[in-house]
Amino acid sequence: VAQPTAIMDPQTAPDISESDLVRLAQNGSRDALEQIIMRYERRIFALAFRLTGNMADAQDAAQETFVRLHLRIREIQAARGAGPWLRAVAVNACRDVGRRRRRSRLIPMPLAVADVPDTFPDPERRFSATETEARLQAGLATLAEKERAALLLREMEGLTTAEVARALGSSEVTVRSQICNARLKLRRFFGRGEAHR
């Protein structure tokens, strides 16, 4: 693998590979680090939002993930890219934020629906999307923490069972079982909702 050089400017070379970005960041390039964060920030926030279930905790967890990226960039295997490392750290950060929240007994801030930009101009589609999202969050809330993390890493991030197991520090058998349980619970939750309609 060719060693990236300092002349590669991440800002001016958007098609630079992630491995090279990681190497540049490990060599001290702040721009490369910024590029990595920009590539992953939405996905990491979305994962944190689905894991924690609220906006404030998700933002805290996402910020904590990127703080750890700043501090521990050298731990990342450049060849694998930053994604697997960031996802594993995000899951741990969500867990830490949840623990801190439980210790402090703070009530999560209610979602500021008014702040959410209108990404669906069609009112019918917008209502449907909002409803689907609310039901999805309610369904995820019925899952155990580890089941939720395993399912989200698989479905949202498209990780294989082995990758999920590595990210969560579990065995593949455990992860497979957790994913199946999560899917079954979610299906039953949605099945009850469909039956009521």
Binding site: E41, R42, F45, A58, F66
Partner: protein, 200 residues
């Protein structure tokens, strides 16, 4: 869903676990096929970003993360410097400690025997002053002073103790004590002169 008993196995099969019976069932069961379709639908819903993801101020998030990283790095360095300073201080104290003179060595002492004779040191007698040298005076017989009544009474009492009551009338003739021995030719005669009164 009409196959609750098959659901867990079908899910594991869809997850990639080798289960020929589950595969055969899945091929012929419309209910389980519908289950797979619903799972795909939910997976797609999960893959979509939540609308809230568009509401986040990402530049602010990046700036906050960078600032927090700098703060933690600084704190880590300060803590490391403090740890080094503490180690140096401790090491210097230890070095000073080593240079001190060795403390007196303790010699093991055997325990005393079971029976201990306690020796009491003799009490030193107080120093006695040398007796004053007195010139031997020539014996002289001073003229007795006239007796007081009390002295006379005491002398009378002593006489009453020394001599039988009839002695008041006896003269000053010597007392004779004859001791007969087993030999009829030998007789011990002990003559004792009368001492007289204490005032004689």
């Amino acid at each position: 869903m009409n196959c609750p008993e098959w659901e867990p196995r079908i899910l594991l099969f869809l997850e990639g676990e080798a289960d020929p019976a589950a595969a055969e069932h899945f091929r012929h069961c419309p209910s389980c096929a519908a289950l797979a379709g619903n799972l795909n639908k939910e997976a797609r819903a999960l893959q979509a970003l939540p609308p809230e993801a568009a509401a986040v101020d990402y530049p602010a998030l990046r700036t906050a993360a960078a600032r927090e990283a700098v703060r933690r790095r600084l704190r880590r360095r300060v803590l490391a410097a403090l740890a080094v300073a503490a180690a140096v201080l401790l090491a210097s104290r230890l070095a000073l400690h080593r240079n001190l003179p060795e403390p007196a060595r303790l010699v093991p002492v055997e325990p005393p025997p079971a029976q201990v004779t306690r020796v009491v040191p003799p009490i030193a007698a107080p120093p006695v002053a040398a007796p004053p040298t007195v010139r031997r005076a020539k014996p002289h017989h001073p003229k007795p002073e006239p007796l007081s009544d009390l002295d006379r009474q005491f002398a009378a009492y002593l006489r009453s103790l020394e001599s039988p009551p009839h002695a008041d009338t006896a003269d000053n003739s010597p007392e004779v004590l004859r001791v007969s021995t087993s030999n009829p030719n030998v007789t011990i005669i002990w003559l004792q002169e009368s001492k007289g009164t204490p005032h004689d």
